[in-house]
Amino acid sequence: MGLSAVTVLGVDRPGVIAAVTGSLAECGANIQDSTMTLLGGHVAMMLLVSGDLDPAELRKRLGAPDLVVTASAIEARRHFCDDGGGAPEGIGYVLTVHGPDRPGIISAVSAVLADDGGNITGMSTRLTGRLYVLIADVDLPKDVDVAALMRRLAVVGASLDSQITFRPVEPDLL
């Protein structure tokens, strides 16, 4: 059984999730990982579903012309630690950036992280008034000089007139 990546975009309204997931179920697709958020008042969903999904059939069953739906079969296998491989190798950090909105904030900050092999595993950005906010979950290789990385982040933050905090995740393992 294959995997498909489904994306849904449209103006937010009540019932979008119910309609999309209902249509997927009718198509025999099983939702595995999914995420949904609102971007500037637009609903944005990404789903990884198992089953042989026919995009045309999905759109027909959905019957929602206001939603832009794509569905693509993907070759990739799940890259998770389903086999009991344990937690990721890196160390988890949370990055916060806030300051005046301007082009290039994400690229500048993410480039600093990438130079040290940092992997952004989750990210959310919000623009509210003049304030631009970026929060990112970051996995760092264990051998990274975190103090030096933080100094480079501070330099980038200053060049963007933005405040940057970078702190380790404190997981509560119960």
């Binding site: 806030h98 005046p100 990210m123 959310s124 919000r126 509210t128 933005s162 405040q163």
Partner: protein
């Protein structure tokens, strides 16, 4: 002393990112600022606290009144504290908070639910110790962060802890 409500600054603003200066609680200008801070808090809808940087003063002054909040347990009442200092903190817990200076966003932020704060009362300069818990403790810690140039955004523990909101409320 009757204060005058001032405009609440919104982020981004340099004063909100600066470490505030200690004050002489008996100085007339500090007493006036304390009165203005309180007057601003009283007219700020939904806000349970404010810090002097939020009205453009980089001074270590906070005002809060958590008494009417349904989540409050300790209730010190309406209070302005100069040079507040966190002396004890325990029992961390997460809670959703927003800020009068950050419209449209809230976040689940871990804070101590039991705190001890030392400071001085503006005017007399009398030393005061506040034992706060629950919502009042969260509110005071939020204001203390403002004095150190921090917003609640700087304490968001993970991406999924950030939320959009349709209204603004402080702590």
């Amino acid at each position: 002393m009757k204060g005058t409500p001032r405009e609440v600054l919104g982020a981004p603003h340099p004063v909100l990112s600066a470490v505030a200066e200690p004050v002489d609680p008996t100085a007339p200008e500090v007493m006036a600022a304390a009165a203005d801070l309180l007057a601003t808090l009283r007219q700020e809808p939904g806000a349970a606290g404010l810090a002097a940087p939020q009205i453009g003063l980089s001074w270590r002054l906070i005002a809060f009144d958590a008494g009417r909040h349904p989540k409050a347990r300790s209730r010190a009442g309406e209070l302005v504290v100069a040079n507040p200092r966190l002396a004890g903190a325990a029992h961390w817990n997460g809670g959703r908070e927003g800020c009068a200076s950050v419209a449209g966003l809230t976040a689940d932020v871990p804070r101590a639910t039991r705190i001890t704060v030392h400071g001085h009362l503006p005017g007399t300069g009398e030393a005061v110790t506040i034992e706060a818990d629950a919502f009042e403790a969260r509110c005071i810690q939020h204001q203390l962060d403002h004095l150190d140039g921090l917003l609640f955004l700087d304490r968001v523990p993970r991406v999924l802890s950030l939320h959009t909101s349709l209204h603004t409320c402080d702590a």
